[in-house]
Each structure stands twice: as structure tokens, then as C-alpha cells.
């Protein structure tokens, strides 16, 4: 058997995005993937070596990064995990021969800005703790470059896929319960939906990008044909049979978000403090999502298309990829 040429550590390789990245790395002849994860569950991709690594633990990171050619950071969690994790990964990489870092960021670093957003658009820290943490994490990666390291930052929009907890699973739950549907003007923002397969494709292709010493490149990731939120909700709802799709007024969705969403968040927070999982709680629509559903922000992914040579999954394929037992998507959607 031919020996593999480069070794790639996928931090967060046990999660939704990390899993897909590992799967795609396994298809590459010259790559040996290695999973780094805080918990080693049965979700781990079979046939791939896995290490227990907490990304907020420098020692574990240093061990994991030994003899690694590249590290892909798709760890997520609370603000500390995101920010401190990125800082420590960069620190450990600096101490371990400066491997290339591929860092998964988010469109939330652009904050509440509107219009067509390219990678040159200045960041804006006005979206709460998540955006703030993601910006701080990017700064750590930029500093890694300033210290002579090479890195690629990927800024995906909303990542969909049948295991996507945020942009597929909970949306499907809300569609089935009639809490989401066609929102009219309240759902008129661009979804910037991107298939997890395309995010993984970008991460794997980033491995082959030649970078000068100290160079950090940034790519937006949003399917060029990603629709506005209303279209996404209607098409997904029709695809899963949550029909007829309901038209939901601005008044109704606000009532849901503020009267139900906020109290649920508070209860969740209290239970978390006392280390009790509150999975039985209903999913209220958080008010922050209402702002996102209206936000006229369109990520420009031209750079990823041209420089990474991404072959995007068309929208109707992306929809099919989200449905657990895939019924046929009506032709009218495409």
C-alpha cells in the first residue's frame, strides 16, 4: 500500500462539520487524516486514528500536533472554547513546526452589515458573544501569520446537511410544528446557506493552496445559488412534507421569539449552570435569528470558486442532502 504523504489533524473531527471533512480527507490519496476531539464517541469515522484533545488544553494540543503537516480547526462551543481554543491551537502550532492552519470561522464576523460582502469587507463586532468570539479567534490566526505561520480562514454562511443541528434539524422541527414557514418581509434576508459537503471540499482543497511564509488567506463560503430564507423554508418544508406551508406574520413570529424564545433560553442557561441537560425543552426561536432572517447580507464566494476551484453543489442537491429519508424533490423547486 502506498504511504501517505501528509498528515492532517482535524480538531473537532467528531462534530458535524469535522466528520464530513475527515470523510473527504480519507478519499485523498496523499493524506492521512487524524481526528482530535474532546470526546471520543461512536460518531468517530471508522478507520481513522483518533486522539482525545481538548482544544483549551495546551499540553494536549502540543501532543496532538506532533509531526502534523496541517491542522483543521472546526471546534465550536462557548466563547472561551472558540477564542481561547484558537489562541492555544496557534500557540501549539508555533511550538510544533508551524503546520498550516485551516480555521473555520463564520459569516458572523461581518456583524449586522448589509449588501454584498467580500473577504475585504472590514469585520464588525455587533452580533453578540458569538460574533465577538469568532472575530477574536480570527485575530489569533492572523497573529500566527505575523509570526511566520501560514493559514487559511474559511468564513462559511449557514452550514446545512442532514446532521446540521442549527440550519437543518431545528429548521425542520420548526417547520413541522408550524412555527416557521413563509415569513414574508420577516424572512427576506439572504440565507447564505452552504452544504457541509462544500465546506469540507473547501477545507480539503485549502490543503493544496500554496502560501508564502506568514501568508493568511481568507475565503467566504456561501453557495452562489443560495436563496433567501423564505425560499429555503418553503422548499425544505415541501421536501419533507411539512405542508401546506404556513404564512407566518411578523407579529406571530415576534410573539414566539420574545414570549417563548427568551424564557426558554433563560431556563436552558440556569440548567446549564447546574450541569443538567435540558434537552426536553422546546426549541424557541431566538430573537437573534429574527434579525438574521431579515438581514440583507450576501456573501460573495467568487474568490473560493476561482482560487479554490470549488464545485458547488446546486441548491436542489443541497436540499436533497438534508432530508433524512429523502423523498423526491419536486422539479418546480429547481
Amino acid at each position: 500500500m502506498k504511504s501517505k504523504e501528509i498528515k492532517v489533524l482535524v480538531l473537532g473531527g467528531n462534530g458535524f462539520v469535522g466528520n464530513e471533512i475527515v470523510r473527504q480527507l480519507m478519499q485523498m490519496n496523499h493524506v492521512t487524516p487524524l481526528i482530535g476531539s474532546r470526546t471520543l464517541s461512536d460518531k468517530i469515522v471508522q478507520g481513522v486514528a483518533a486522539l482525545k484533545i481538548d482544544s483549551t488544553n495546551l499540553l494536549e494540543l502540543k501532543d496532538g500536533l506532533k509531526e502534523v503537516d496541517a491542522v483543521i480547526n472546526c471546534v465550536t462551543g462557548d466563547a472561551t472554547t472558540i477564542t481561547q481554543g484558537a489562541q492555544l491551537i496557534c500557540e501549539a502550532a508555533t511550538l510544533s513546526g508551524m503546520p498550516k492552519i485551516i480555521h473555520l470561522s463564520s459569516q458572523s464576523v461581518y456583524g449586522a452589515q448589509t449588501g454584498v460582502i467580500s473577504e475585504n469587507t472590514p469585520l464588525r463586532d455587533d452580533l453578540g458573544w458569538y460574533g465577538h468570539a469568532k472575530i477574536a479567534a480570527e485575530y489569533a490566526v492572523e497573529d500566527y501569520g505575523k509570526n511566520g505561520g501560514t493559514a487559511i480562514i474559511l468564513r462559511p454562511g449557514c452550514i446545512s446537511g442532514k446532521d446540521s443541528p442549527l440550519w437543518t434539524e431545528r429548521i425542520i422541527t420548526w417547520l413541522k410544528k408550524g412555527k416557521l414557514g413563509d415569513l414574508g418581509a420577516s424572512g427576506d434576508g439572504w440565507s447564505n446557506i452552504v452544504d457541509v459537503a462544500d465546506v469540507a471540499q473547501a477545507a480539503t482543497k485549502a490543503l493544496n493552496v500554496s502560501l508564502r511564509e506568514g501568508e493568511v488567506k481568507i475565503f467566504n463560503l456561501s453557495a452562489p445559488d443560495s436563496p433567501r430564507w423564505n425560499q429555503y423554508f418553503v422548499d425544505l418544508g415541501v421536501s419533507i412534507g411539512a405542508t401546506p406551508i404556513k404564512r407566518i406574520s411578523n407579529r406571530a413570529i415576534k410573539l414566539d421569539a420574545y414570549l417563548l424564545g427568551i424564557p426558554i433560553k433563560i431556563i436552558e442557561h440556569i440548567f446549564k449552570k447546574v450541569h443538567i441537560k435540558a434537552t426536553w425543552l422546546p426549541h424557541g426561536i431566538p430573537p437573534s435569528l429574527l434579525k438574521l432572517f431579515r438581514q440583507e447580507i450576501k456573501l460573495d464566494s467568487t474568490k473560493a470558486t476561482t482560487e479554490l476551484e470549488l464545485m458547488w453543489n446546486p441548491y436542489h442537491i443541497m436540499l436533497q442532502n438534508q432530508i433524512p429519508a429523502s423523498p423526491e424533490i419536486p422539479d418546480k423547486i429547481s
Binding site: 449588501g115 413563509d182 425560499q231 418553503v234 405542508t243 404556513k246 404564512r247
Partner: protein, 550 residues
């Protein structure tokens, strides 16, 4: 960005790439097509976000025959969103035959065909929030529903065509946020275009004169100008702008303002279907995307050609509302509430019968003796229409007897004598007002008569029931309320020949290199379909055309 014309410095010249006049079913989608481009678009709107009497009065004018056409300030709204602020929401595409030159219909034939709109109808459907672009009941629903009439085998009539209903969406309210957030599309409210100024040979628009009701005035200079002010107002502005072209812009052959069409409409006859009520699908069906849809009865294109008749559709309708013998508490309730219904929808409830105390008492008795159905109806109306954002489109009664009248909506044959023209009376901005002289032809009524007679034969042939109507009295029934309100078609007709039309197939005014029209006024024929969906589609086609220009 959104601004008011009153905030613009007096007498300045605003420069832009494309200036669109009128923010309604054509202007709003067209402007939004330039989102995320480098093209600078200025959308001028006479009104504000809400109706204002002084602005609405700018629409006032006269009609030659008040029983045949509504006053010009009715069915039209001079404000952001235009007449989509009051429309009923019915969406139907034109049929392929509508675009054809038909030997039996003089002046028929478009310089484009239905395929030229194929890319734009689905997008128009989306802007108008009418769901997926599918107008065939056999594909629109899941599972496939029952046929409209069980046992109806006629190959000459289609009953699978559907109409889809928008919310009805007020485009101003729906898309206001996009304008507010756009960096290259400016919306200017309270800005009335009072003249189109051409260069001296009359081959190009030099600038637009704009005025506000508060006395401000300024100019707009653009590379291209698009008039999207509706089927009457666009024509009025072109007639008024007669400095260079003495009879109005592009009007070298007395075509501008002529061939004015609406639709021929009315409730006719009595259709009785045999057997149980389950054999008839008479009401609204809901598509998977949540859109209210309804079937229509329509003669096929082949049979239309064979019979030499213009296009028309018929929907199943309830009995005559003013006649209390229907015993329906719901209909009597509607009759009693007619004065609380808006002009646009109340008109056809009023009929022409004398509103006596005795008549009112009979209707009141109907309400008292049919309380359960009346309450059920009111509750449904409250929850599914009054309070709902996607509104139940119209009154549908439970089918208890398999008896209906047919609600006819028919094409009007182009007629040069049917026209709008300027009068000597002026509005608050010193612009001449218009007079509407709507006329129909005997052939319009004859076409409906032929189609209905043939329908009657086809129903009888299958022995599923019978359809009877008073052929001698058909003209009276169809003209009881005159022209179908709100559909203003044909006064800047599209064609290849400048001698018989005003705009070419790209909606550009013949002989004027940078002036376009996006309105139902460019339709050379009126189809059976309500015009809004096609207005939006044709506007989107024009926007695509503008994008290809340097």
C-alpha cells in the same frame, strides 16, 4: 436608500443610470433586479407610504359613460406599492394563443411569444408571492386532486387550469426593507414626473421634469428611462409631453391612448351538475407551498381557433346575491355589509336592484334563519381573511345543491375607438386630466355567447348535468357593471410596425432611443388573464434587457 422629493435641493439635476417612474407591480420588481449591481437606479414615486388624498386626487379625471367604466381615481393607487396596495391577488399567466396573430381578431398578435416570458413568469410569481410557477392542477397538488367535474370528458374544455392567489402582496410593504438597505437603488417618494423632455430632433429623452405637491421642483437625467406608472398614467404622461412630438411622445399615427381594453365580465346562467356534491370541486385548493388556488373552465386554443372566438374563462360562482330567495344567511350578510366593503369589491355586490326596506328585511330574515352557517362563515372570514396575512381570496359558499352560475372573465377585442385622451381640465400640478372612453364591440359578447353555448352542449353530451343561460340577455348581464375594474390595457401597444404601435418588442418607444414602457399599456391584446402577473413578468424581461446594454 429612501428619500422624499421634498428633501431634494430646488432645481438641481439628479443624475443616474436608470430612472424608473412609478413604484408598483412593474417598477418595484424591476428596480430590485438591479440589487447587487453597479448600476445606479432611481425609482420615482408620486405618493408616500400611505394613501394621501391630495396625491390620489392627481388621478382624478372623467369617463364618457359612468355606467360603463369606474372613475379614473378608482382601482388605482398613487403611492408606494401602487395598486398592489389594493389588488385581489389573482395570478394567471397569459396563454400561448394570446400572443398569436389570430385571423378572426383584428389587430391581434404580439411581436413576442410566450417563450420570451418563460424565464420571467416564475420570477414574477415569486415577487408576487404566488408560490411555485405551476398552473396545472394535475401537477400543482400532492396528491393529485379529483377532477373539477366527475365524468366530464370534453377534450374541447380544460378544467385543470388554475389561478393562484398572492397574499395579496402589497409590494411596497413587502420590499420596503430592500430599498432601505440598498446602496445603489434610490427610492424617491413624493416625486411627480410632470413632463418628459426630449432632445430637439425628438430621438432621445434629455431629462424628466419632477415636481412635488409642496412646490419643490428638480430634474432627473438618466441614461435610460422606464415608465411604469400603470396602463392609464403612463399614457397620460406621454400625451402631456408634447413639446417636440406634437401629439405626444411616439404618437405620430394617432395610436397613443387608443385600443384601450379591460375585460368583459359577469355572472351568467345556471349550471346544474347531477349526483352528489362530491362530484364537483368548486372551491379553493391549497398547494403544498400554502397557496390558495382555484380551477377554471377554459376552451382549448385549438377549439377557440375552430370557433373563431376570443379567449375567456369561467369560474363556478354562487347565485345572484341581491335576490334573497337564495336563502343563504352568508350571502344576505354580504348584501347587508356591502357598504362597508371597499369600492373595488363592493361594486359587484350592489347590483342594480332597488334597495328597498322590504328587500333588506328579507335578507335580514335569511341571516336569522341560517345562524349556524352565517356564524361559521364569519369565523372563517375573521381567522382566514381579516386576521391572516395570506388571505382567503373570496367568498365561497358550501356546495349544497350542485347549482352554480358561471363567473365569466373574457378577452376584449382591440378597438381603436376605445380610448383615453386629455381634457382641458388640469390637476394640482397643472397637468391636463384624462377622459376615459371605454367601448366594447358586439363581437366581444358574441364570442362569450358562442363559447357558453358550446360548453352547454359539451356538458349535455356527457350527461353530467346541464347549463342554461339567456343568450338574448347576455349582453345586459355582461355589461351590468361595465368594464372589469382595474385592468387598464393596450394604450401604448407593442408591435414591430411604428405606424400601428407605440413600443417595440423590447418595450422601447419607437424612434426614442432611451425611453421604455413597463406596463399593461404595452399589451396588444388583453387575454382572459388578470394582468398583474404579466405586468411584472414583462417588467422583469425589460430589466434583463437593460442589463445586457452597455
Amino acid at each position: 436608500m429612501i428619500k422624499s422629493g421634498n428633501s431634494i435641493a430646488h432645481n438641481i439635476v439628479i443624475e443616474t443610470d436608470i430612472c424608473i417612474v412609478g413604484a408598483g407591480a412593474a417598477g418595484i420588481p424591476m428596480a430590485l433586479e438591479f440589487e447587487q449591481t453597479i448600476t445606479k437606479v432611481l425609482l420615482l414615486e408620486s405618493g408616500d407610504f400611505k394613501e394621501e388624498k391630495e396625491t390620489q386626487d392627481l388621478y382624478s379625471g372623467s369617463v364618457s359613460n359612468k355606467t360603463m367604466h369606474s372613475p379614473p381615481d378608482k382601482y388605482r393607487q398613487r403611492r408606494f406599492g401602487g395598486s398592489t396596495t389594493i389588488w385581489g391577488g389573482r395570478c394567471v399567466p397569459f396563454d400561448p394563443i394570446d400572443f398569436e396573430r389570430r385571423s378572426y381578431i383584428p389587430q391581434s398578435g404580439w411581436p413576442i411569444n410566450v417563450d420570451d416570458l418563460a424565464d420571467f413568469y416564475p420570477k414574477a410569481n415569486s415577487y408576487l408571492e404566488a408560490g411555485y410557477y405551476c398552473y396545472d392542477a394535475r401537477n400543482a397538488f400532492n396528491p393529485v386532486p379529483k377532477p373539477m367535474f366527475e365524468g366530464f370528458t370534453s377534450s374541447a374544455f380544460s378544467t385543470d387550469g388554475i389561478e393562484r392567489f398572492s397574499c395579496p402582496t402589497d409590494l411596497g410593504k413587502r420590499y420596503r426593507n430592500r430599498f432601505a438597505q440598498s446602496s445603489n437603488i434610490d427610492l424617491l417618494l413624493n416625486a411627480n414626473v410632470i413632463a418628459i423632455e426630449l432632445n430637439n430632433p425628438g430621438t432621445e429623452v434629455d431629462f424628466l421634469q419632477v415636481a412635488t405637491l409642496n412646490g419643490n421642483a428638480f430634474k432627473v437625467k438618466a441614461k435610460s428611462y422606464i415608465l411604469a406608472m400603470g396602463g392609464i398614467e403612463t399614457t397620460r404622461l406621454m400625451l402631456v409631453s408634447n413639446n417636440i412630438h406634437k401629439n405626444g411622445i411616439g404618437n405620430h399615427n394617432d395610436i397613443l391612448g387608443r385600443f384601450y381594453m379591460c375585460h368583459i365580465a359577469g355572472n351568467v346562467g345556471r349550471l346544474k351538475i347531477n349526483g352528489t356534491t362530491s362530484k364537483v370541486q368548486h372551491g379553493y385548493e391549497i398547494s403544498p407551498e400554502g397557496i390558495y388556488c382555484r380551477r377554471r373552465i377554459q376552451l382549448t386554443a385549438e377549439k377557440q381557433k375552430e370557433l373563431g372566438v376570443s379567449n375567456m374563462v369561467a369560474r363556478l360562482h354562487f347565485p345572484k346575491i341581491t335576490d334573497p330567495s337564495h336563502k343563504s344567511g352568508i350571502l344576505s350578510g354580504l348584501f347587508m355589509a356591502k357598504n362597508f366593503v371597499s369600492y373595488e369589491y363592493g361594486k359587484r355586490l350592489k347590483d342594480d336592484e332597488e334597495n328597498t326596506l322590504k328587500l333588506k328585511a328579507k335578507h335580514f330574515l335569511n341571516i336569522l334563519t341560517d345562524p349556524f352557517n352565517t356564524f361559521k362563515f364569519l369565523l372563517h372570514w375573521l381567522t382566514k381573511r381579516t386576521l391572516a396575512e395570506r388571505k382567503f381570496p373570496s367568498v365561497i359558499l358550501p356546495n349544497e345543491s350542485n347549482q352554480f352560475s358561471l363567473e365569466v372573465h373574457a378577452e376584449q377585442i382591440p378597438n381603436k375607438n376605445s380610448r383615453i385622451y386629455l381634457t382641458s381640465e388640469k390637476d394640482a400640478l397643472n397637468m391636463p386630466k384624462i377622459n376615459v372612453d371605454w367601448q366594447y364591440l358586439t363581437e366581444d359578447v358574441e364570442a362569450v355567447k358562442k363559447t357558453l353555448k358550446f360548453f352547454s352542449e359539451e356538458i349535455a353530451k356527457d350527461e353530467i348535468g346541464n347549463f342554461e343561460f339567456d343568450a338574448d340577455n347576455l349582453e345586459t348581464e355582461l355589461m351590468r357593471f361595465g368594464a372589469y375594474g382595474g385592468h387598464h390595457i393596450g394604450t401604448t401597444r407593442m408591435g414591430d410596425n411604428p405606424e400601428t404601435s407605440i413600443v417595440n418588442k423590447d418595450c422601447r418607444v419607437h424612434g426614442v432611443s432611451n425611453l421604455y414602457v413597463a406596463s399593461s399599456s404595452v399589451f396588444p391584446t388583453s387575454s382572459q388573464a388578470n394582468p398583474t402577473l404579466t405586468i411584472t413578468a414583462i417588467a422583469l424581461r425589460l430589466a434583463a434587457h437593460m442589463k445586457t446594454m452597455k
